[in-house]
């Protein structure tokens, strides 16, 4: 448990949103994430947005991976 994928909110009408991931669109419910805005990325699970993805944290995490990679390369260049 559980398949949830990051999907972009394209439009919102009440508690219904149209979300899109990689070119695939679906309607989704934002009953669990009423704070979601158009342009946000949400975690889509069984047709519901269960959380709004924190884009800053995503970038932070990627940055950490980069730093780890650079440190590894310095320690053992090959």
């Amino acid at each position: 448990m559980c398949l949830a994928i990051p999907a972009k909110v394209k439009s919102i009408k009440g508690v219904e949103a149209e979300v899109e991931v990689g070119g695939v669109s679906r309607k989704a419910s934002i009953m669990l994430t009423p704070e979601a805005k158009v342009g946000d990325y949400v975690l889509l699970h069984t047709g519901y947005a269960i959380n709004v993805i924190d884009e800053e944290e995503a970038q932070e995490t990627l940055k950490i991976f980069q730093e780890i990679a650079e440190a590894e390369d310095r320690e053992s260049p090959s």
């Binding site: 398949l3 991931v21 990689g22 070119g23 679906r26």
Partner: protein, 334 residues
Amino acid sequence: MEDKILLAHGSGGKLSHDLVKQNFVPLFDNAFLDKLDDSAVFELKDRLAFTTDSYVVNPIFFPGGDIGKLAVCGTVNDLSMMGAVPKYLSIALIIEEGLLMSDLKRIMESTKKAAKEAGVKIVTGDTKVVNKGSADKLFINSAGVGVIPSGVDISGSNARVGDKVILSGSIGDHGIAVISQREGLQFTSSVKSDCAPLNKLVAEMLDSGVEIRCLRDPTRGGLASTLNEFAESSGVGIVIEEQDIPVHEVVQAACELLGFDPLYVANEGKLVAVVAAHGAEKVVEVMRRKKYGKEAAIIGEVVSEHPGRVILKTRMGASRIVDMLVGEQLPRIC
């Protein structure tokens, strides 16, 4: 009220006769059908390839095609995978009472168009109509005959250690296009079925002069099942590289959504070839010049280790087994 197919259309009486004479004969337009004899009669020299397939796809219309196009391409491809030049096809319809005449006509148009593109003639057919509920709108059986040029010997058991594995293009398009239409799974995407006749592509590949050992179209069960079939028939191992397998982003996205693995999703316009290593690059070049081979790529090779098994080298650098599909892939939430 729209015209519908009635039981009488399949009973052999006037309505049947008119349906065939006024629709199918002029549509498929050839001397064989004009005769309206019980069988088509023709002469063919050389070795023949003969195949049959039944098509029961649901829904009957899907993005990129319909059951009629599928019936032609599927049978043409089965012949092509033996290296045969497809010549003559039969089309037998089992129609559920109540099917709209306009739907049937649309599908027959599609069938004609596909046959024309493949360069094959539909020389004989049959029409039956069954009670409502006894068939799912329309089932089609198609049989085909093709001629295998001398010197051509293609079989799933011919793979040799060192050979390269080539895929003619992206995987997963057909399966995703069809499933996107099913009730309970509504999503919209630009994914179209890749349904296409591959005989001309195969002819070019054979003309290249490179030894083509195996050919198969990865339909039900996907690429994974086809590779397993080769590995088992030939008693060899196959290794493929995850990053070399072409998958369109939108197909990948749909697979992520449903929890599918593209390796197991059906394709109707792709082929997998096992060819002699020294000529693999040349074959890929030849394929990329053709309409249905533009994304052709070498995806792996045949090895002596783990005979009968297919191994995938993941992006992360590890190896894992790719087994045959068991049953059906079902959308999952976990």
